[in-house]
């Protein structure tokens, strides 16, 4: 009897210990995919979407509808999470398929390698998650785990009665979440509103797809930029990891040089182009240029804003460039605006002369419009207009000349196929000093 009591005490005592081991782990990366998973889960719960397999069970009468037992409700919630994960995986697959085809058509080997690694790793992660959730739903847990959860369920009932003031435990998470979102108040209020993405489900799906697209585009572009910055030809995950470590160690070494004061400090510029030339080219069709003192026959006006930080010692530069251009010549008029955002890259001394060389990437957004009026031989007037907009990652290369307190910049943006998309050339700009 005594030994049994001690044994029971031991069992209960052990059960009081935290089940998850406390480990000193590295802080995990806050990933894009995890944030995205929350968005997908939230939509699934709000829209009451469950995995098809789960829905089939419900139709077959195996699952109690609406206010069933807590176990059934738990399964329905799991069904929503499975559905959300499958949707995320499908969207990833679609995006990966499209990007891989494009990379293959461009013969962009680096992009293809990055995509292969990223897509397969993410797919495996989502599949693993689906598997775990399926396992949980199928209640294929060990006896002790099932028993433990059974005790916890009993505990729920206690807390339902004695929980802190102001807190109530719900029975239908999805339905009640929806009511709160739509009514904004107590669950007893009659719901007279509806979330738009329930009214137009496709719109909600497209919104999530857009997030997937932009997130992956950015990741892909970042990896390709990294490969370029590191001079890596092979862009497998392993090679890029090595390249990152190398770049990191190079950056880490820089502060020692800073103390010696041999190189230039961090410089920045943030001003309007006051002297120089800027142009935007688009499909060889529209070429808008702006320059100080341009021909009076082409009275172009322009405003180009630049915001750049050159960390020459750290070997990096970042910033953005945007410009509005407008020109008119006789019956021809053009408007254009461009913005190159998120520019990042490397800067190093020019081995063939003084100054520095830039190499990096950015995201170009172009909007162009032209209007042309002309008259034919019979004196009949025709009006022609063309408008276009485009957004694409671009490669950036340039040269910077620093002459005491002034500097000159010659920067060109190019698409992956090598065609030029924009250029900015300046001279005699005052160099600002950026305090690091």
């Amino acid at each position: 009897m005594k030994s049994k009591s001690w044994f029971l005490l031991l069992v209960f005592g052990v059960s009081l210990l935290p089940l998850t081991p406390v480990l000193a782990e590295e802080v995990p990366l806050k990933t894009f995919e995890d944030a995205l998973a929350l968005a997908y889960a939230s939509h699934s719960i709000l829209l009451g979407e469950v995995d098809e397999e789960e829905a089939a069970r419900a139709r077959g009468g195996l699952m109690a509808p609406a206010r069933g037992s807590q176990a059934d409700e738990g399964k329905a919630a799991l069904g929503s999470l499975i559905h959300a994960t499958k949707q995320q995986r499908n969207s990833l697959d679609d995006k990966c398929r499209g990007l891989k085809a494009a990379a293959k058509a461009e013969d962009a080997k680096c992009k293809q390698q990055v995509l292969n690694d990223y897509c397969s790793a993410q797919r495996a992660k989502l599949n693993r998650r689906i598997g775990l959730l399926h396992k949980l739903r199928g209640d294929q847990r060990k006896l002790f785990t099932r028993l433990w959860h059974s005790i916890k369920r009993s505990g729920d009932r206690i807390w339902h009665a004695v929980g802190p003031v102001g807190r109530r435990i719900l029975r239908r998470a999805g339905q009640d979440a929806l009511k709160i979102a739509e009514s904004g108040g107590s669950l007893s209020l009659s719901v007279v509103k509806q979330i738009l993405i329930r009214h137009a489900v496709d719109v909600g799906v497209e919104e999530l797809d857009r997030l997937v697209t932009r997130g992956i585009d950015r990741f892909l572009f970042g990896q390709v930029a990294l490969a370029r910055a590191a001079g890596v030809q092979n862009c497998t995950e392993e090679d890029l990891k090595k390249a990152k470590e190398r770049l990191k160690s190079e950056v880490d070494i820089e502060p020692e040089e800073e103390e010696e004061g041999e190189n230039l400090p961090v410089f920045g510029i943030q001003n309007e182009l006051v002297s120089g030339y800027a142009s935007v080219e688009w499909e060889n069709f529209i070429h808008i240029a702006a320059a100080e003192g341009y021909s009076p026959a082409q009275p172009y006006t322009r405003a180009v804003m630049m915001d750049m930080i050159f960390n020459i010692k750290g070997g990096t530069f970042s910033g953005s460039v945007s410009g509005d251009l407008h020109g008119k010549e006789f019956s021809h008029e053009e408007w254009g605006s461009f913005a190159v955002s998120g520019i990042t890259g490397t800067i190093k001394e020019n081995p063939q002369g003084s100054g520095y060389l830039l190499n990096g990437t950015g995201q170009l957004d172009v909007q162009v419009r032209m209007e042309q009026t002309y008259t034919d031989g019979a004196g009949k007037a025709y009006f022609y207009e063309h408008e276009d907009q485009f957004s694409s990652p671009i490669q950036i290369e340039g040269k910077i000349m620093i002459l005491n307190v002034t500097w000159e910049l010659d920067m060109n943006g190019r698409f992956d196929d090598g065609t030029k998309s924009f250029s900015v050339n300046t001279n005699d700009l005052e160099l600002g000093t950026w305090q690091p």
């Binding site: 009897m1 009591s5 029971l8 005490l9 209960f12 806050k30 894009f32 944030a35 995205l36 998973a37 929350l38 968005a39 889960a41 939230s42 709000l46 919630a77 999470l81 994960t85 396992k135 433990w148 916890k152 009993s154 505990g155 729920d156 206690i158 807390w159 102001g166 807190r167 109530r168 435990i169 719900l170 998470a173 979440a177 709160i180 979102a181 739509e182 904004g184 107590s186 509103k193 509806q194 979330i195 738009l196 993405i197 009214h199 496709d202 719109v203 497209e206 997030l211 932009r214 950015r218 970042g222 910055a229 470590e245 770049l247 950056v251 750290g314 990096t316 913005a339 998120g342 990096g360």
Partner: protein, 207 residues
């Protein structure tokens, strides 16, 4: 003689009572332990159960608003505040292998049929929104500036002015230490107590 006999009887009774006392104490101890386990399990269950919370807006003093980027300010001038928006907060590795925060947001203008995507405030895409017969939408009670990366729950609640919301803890098999929250025309998700996803939802009146 009789006294000796009485003493012997008392000694026998004490001997008999001792195991009884041990059993009673043991039982009480076991009941206490079982009760403790039960309450602990209840607490765990409570932590994992969806909850409706009605606790009033937390008072956490002045909140720092997110500063909109120039491109976003320009868009506000042209289109006004969005009719719905979604923001994801995450980290990415920069070219120099350092970690950088990313704020990826989409602004929806359903009635004008266009959506915009910003990454760290820079406009990166403009996409058409195809919707037949856009219904009349309620004014959105939130703006993107109200939400910043990795806000705490209290900060989000105070910034959004939420006094009633639903909290749904997610299975750890889905995402470790993650919770979803639903308030009026708003849903957001937190991981390790940090805001990672927020979506302001467009509402329409049901006819």
């Amino acid at each position: 003689m009789s006294t000796q006999s009485a003493d012997q009887k008392t000694g026998t009774d004490q001997k008999k009572r001792k195991p009884l006392l041990t059993i009673v104490v043991g039982l009480i101890f076991l009941i206490l332990v079982a009760g403790g386990v039960f309450l602990y399990a209840g607490w765990l269950g409570y932590q994992e159960a969806p909850k409706l919370v009605e606790e009033g807006v937390p008072d956490i003093g002045a909140l720092e608003m997110y500063d909109l980027a120039p491109a976003q300010e320009t868009l506000l001038g042209d289109y006004g505040y969005p009719e719905a928006f979604t923001i994801l907060f995450y980290e990415e590795e920069a070219v120099d292998a350092s970690l950088q925060d990313v704020r990826l947001e989409t602004w929806q203008y359903y009635t004008q049929g266009v959506g915009f995507t910003f990454i760290n405030g820079e406009l990166t895409a403009e996409d058409p929104i195809d919707m037949e017969d856009t219904p009349v939408l309620d004014p959105l009670p939130y703006t993107p500036e109200q939400f910043s990366a990795y806000m705490t729950l209290d900060q989000v609640l105070a910034s959004a002015g939420l006094d009633t919301y639903v909290e749904i803890p997610l299975e750890k098999e889905f995402l470790e230490d993650a919770d979803l929250y639903y308030g009026e025309a708003l849903t957001f998700g937190m991981v390790d107590g940090e805001l990672r996803y927020v979506e302001a939802l467009a509402l329409t009146t049901v006819e």
